[in-house]
C-alpha cells in the first residue's frame, strides 16, 4: 500500500443501484499518483455515490474498485488508513473543541497521543486555525469549519484526499483560501479526488475532469482540452437574436445552442466569422467572450433544472 502503485484508484465497471434507481452505471476510471481528478456533474449525477464507494462506505453493486492496489470491498480498513475524506456536511464533532476534534479523530487511526498532538498543531497552523484551538467548533465561521474539516481529513497523512464539494456554501474569500490550501497540498504531491459543480474550482484545481450525468461518464479530459473540444476558443452570445441569424447559424452548421431569448455560438477559431456575424446581425445585444468550462458543462448535461 505505497505510492509505488501505478494507480491510486482503479475503478472498473463500478455500479451502484438503490432499488430501481441506478445511481452509478458501469463506469471505469483511474486516478494516477499526484493527480487531482475532478468529478463534475449536476445534482444526482452519481458523484457522491461514486466517492462513497471509493472510501468503502457504500458497497458496490457490481464491478471492481482498487485503491492503492487493494480491493476496497475486502480491504476497506487498510484502504481507509491511507485516505482522508471531506464529506459534504461539516460533520465536525460539535461536542468537542477544535483541538479535541483533531486528537480524537487521530485516535480512530491508531495515531499515538504525542504524534497526534504534534500533527494537530501542525495542521492548525497550516489552516490558520491555531488561535481557535480551544474553542468549540460550533463557534467557528463557515470558512473556518471547512478548513477544519480539511485539517481533520489530513490528520492521518493520507496518500489520497477525497473532497465532496469542498467549497459549496462558502463566501468568495473563504473559497479562495480553501483553494489556496488545496493547491499547496497538490504541489506536495498529494493525490486528490474531488466532486464539484463549481467550474472555477474544477479549472483551477484539477488536472483532469470527468463530467458525469445520470450515473454515466460523458467525457473526460483536462479542463483546457474539454473547453477546446466542446466549446471552442470563444463564444458569441446574442440576446434576442434576429430570425435571420438563427437561420444563418443553422445553414452554416455552426456549433450553437438555440435558447428562447438567446443564441450562443461556440467556436471562434475563425475570427472573421464572428466579426462578420457581429457586423451583420449584432447591435449592442452581442457579447463575445472566452469559452469556459461552464459552457462545456451546460452543453453536455443540458439546461433543464435538476430538482
Amino acid at each position: 500500500m505505497t505510492s509505488a502503485h501505478a494507480r491510486v484508484i482503479e475503478a472498473r465497471n463500478i455500479t451502484k443501484r438503490f432499488g430501481d434507481f441506478l445511481a452509478v452505471d458501469t463506469i471505469s476510471f483511474d486516478l494516477l499518483p499526484g493527480e487531482c481528478l475532478g468529478l463534475l456533474g449536476p445534482n444526482g449525477a452519481g458523484k457522491t455515490s461514486t466517492i462513497r464507494m471509493v472510501y468503502g462506505f457504500s458497497p458496490l453493486t457490481a464491478g471492481t474498485l482498487k485503491i492503492f492496489g487493494v480491493d476496497v470491498s475486502s480491504g476497506w480498513r487498510a484502504v481507509r488508513f491511507g485516505i482522508g475524506v471531506c464529506q459534504q456536511d461539516n460533520n465536525l464533532d460539535p461536542d468537542l473543541t477544535v483541538l479535541q476534534n483533531l486528537e480524537i479523530f487521530a485516535g480512530y487511526f491508531d495515531i499515538p497521543r504525542g504524534a497526534a498532538r504534534e500533527k494537530a498543531d501542525q495542521l492548525l497552523r497550516f489552516m490558520a486555525l491555531d488561535h481557535r484551538r480551544n474553542d468549540m467548533v460550533s463557534s467557528l465561521s463557515g470558512g473556518m469549519m471547512r478548513r477544519m474539516v480539511l485539517a481533520r481529513a489530513l490528520i492521518n497523512d493520507p496518500q489520497l484526499l477525497i473532497l465532496d464539494e469542498p467549497t459549496t456554501g462558502l463566501d468568495p474569500q473563504s473559497r479562495h483560501q480553501v483553494w489556496e490550501k488545496l493547491e499547496k497540498l497538490r504541489a506536495q504531491g498529494l493525490s486528490i479526488l474531488l466532486t464539484t459543480h463549481n467550474m472555477d474550482e474544477a479549472s483551477r484545481l484539477c488536472d483532469r475532469l470527468i463530467i458525469m450525468d445520470h450515473g454515466k461518464i460523458l467525457v473526460t479530459g483536462s479542463p483546457l482540452e474539454l473547453v477546446r473540444e466542446y466549446a471552442g476558443n470563444q463564444v458569441l452570445e446574442i440576446l434576442e437574436p434576429a430570425d435571420e441569424l438563427r437561420a444563418f447559424v443553422r445553414a452554416r452548421e455552426l456549433m450553437h445552442d438555440n435558447l428562447d431569448h438567446r443564441l450562443i455560438i461556440y467556436g471562434g477559431e475563425n475570427d472573421r466569422l464572428f466579426e462578420s456575424i457581429g457586423r451583420e446581425y449584432c447591435g449592442e445585444n452581442c457579447i463575445r467572450r472566452m469559452a469556459t468550462l461552464e459552457d462545456v458543462f451546460l452543453r453536455l448535461t443540458g439546461r433543464e433544472l435538476r430538482e
Partner: protein, 262 residues
C-alpha cells in the same frame, strides 16, 4: 475480527472513549442527577408514602417500604441511563451531528461504532449506579459486601437496555417518535416490574406477563443483592438479561446497518 456477519474489533473502545471525553466535560452536571434523584425519591417514599404503607411482604420477607424500593430505584436508574443514552443521545449523534458518518470515513466499522455506543450506554448506567449506590448506602439501605455485585450487574443491565434502545434508534423515522417505545415498553416496565409494589399484588396472568420484562429480572437481582440474600432468582435474572443482550445486541447492529449503509 469477524463474528458471523459482524465486523467488531477492540477498536470500538475509540468510540467509547470519544463519548467519555464529552461526558467528562460536564461531569458535574452528569453526576448531579444520580446524586440527587435518590434523595428526592427517598424523601417522597421514605417520609411520605412509608407512613401510609408501612412494610411490604416480598416472598416471605417483611421489608420496610424504603428498603423495598431502594433496589427498584437502582434498577430503574440502570435502565434509564442506558436506554436514553442509546435512544435520544445516540440518535442526535447519528442523525443531527453526523458523528457516525465522520467515523465511517476512518478505519472504524459501523459495527464498532454501534458497539462503542452501546458499551458507553452501559458505562453511563454503571457510573450512575455507583453514585446512587453510595448515596443510598449512606442511609444503610444496602448490605455489603454483597451489594458491591450490583455494580457489575448495572453494566450487564446497561448493555441489555442500551441495545434495546439502539434497536429503536435504528428503526425510528424521527426523534419525536421515541415517545412510542417509551410509552409501550419503558413506562409499563417502570410501573409493573415489581418496582413500586410487589409482583404478588398483580393478578396471576399479569405476573406471568411481567416476567417477560427485563426490568423485572433486573429489579429482583438488584433487590436480593442489596439485601445480601443469595437466591436462585439472581441467577435466573442474570440468565434472562444475558439472553436479552444476545438478542438485542446483534439486532441493533443489523438494523443500524440497514439504516446507515447504502
Amino acid at each position: 475480527m469477524r463474528i458471523g456477519r459482524f465486523d467488531v474489533s477492540r477498536r470500538f473502545i475509540r468510540v467509547w472513549h470519544r463519548n467519555l471525553i464529552v461526558y467528562r466535560k460536564i461531569w458535574l452536571v452528569n453526576f448531579l442527577t444520580p446524586l440527587l434523584e435518590p434523595l428526592l425519591y427517598l424523601a417522597a417514599f421514605g417520609i411520605g408514602l412509608s407512613a401510609l404503607i408501612g412494610s411490604v411482604r416480598v416472598e416471605g420477607m417483611e421489608l420496610s417500604y424504603v428498603v423495598f424500593i431502594t433496589p427498584s430505584l437502582l434498577a430503574i436508574t440502570m435502565m434509564y441511563n442506558a436506554f436514553f443514552e442509546n435512544t435520544y443521545t445516540s440518535f442526535v449523534r447519528m442523525y443531527y451531528q453526523k458523528t457516525f458518518d465522520a467515523m465511517l470515513a476512518t478505519p472504524l466499522s459501523l459495527d464498532e461504532v454501534i458497539t462503542g455506543e452501546i458499551m458507553w450506554g452501559a458505562t453511563k448506567s454503571l457510573i450512575a449506579t455507583v453514585i446512587m449506590l453510595s448515596v443510598v448506602s449512606a442511609f444503610g439501605l444496602v448490605r455489603y459486601p454483597e451489594g458491591l455485585l450490583v455494580i457489575p450487574l448495572s453494566f450487564l443491565g446497561g448493555i441489555a437496555f442500551g441495545a434495546l434502545g439502539m434497536v429503536f434508534t435504528g428503526v425510528i423515522p424521527s426523534i419525536d417518535m421515541f415517545n412510542l417505545p417509551i410509552f409501550l415498553f419503558i413506562s409499563p416496565m417502570f410501573l409493573f416490574s415489581g418496582t413500586f409494589f410487589p409482583m404478588e399484588g398483580l393478578p396471576v396472568w399479569a405476573q406471568k406477563l411481567a416476567l417477560l420484562f427485563p426490568l423485572t429480572h433486573l429489579v429482583q437481582a438488584t433487590r436480593w443483592l442489596c439485601l445480601g440474600v443469595f437466591r436462585v432468582e439472581i441467577l435466573w435474572g442474570l440468565a434472562y438479561l444475558v439472553a436479552c443482550c444476545l438478542v438485542f445486541f446483534p439486532l441493533a447492529l443489523i438494523v443500524m446497518k440497514r439504516r446507515l449503509i447504502h
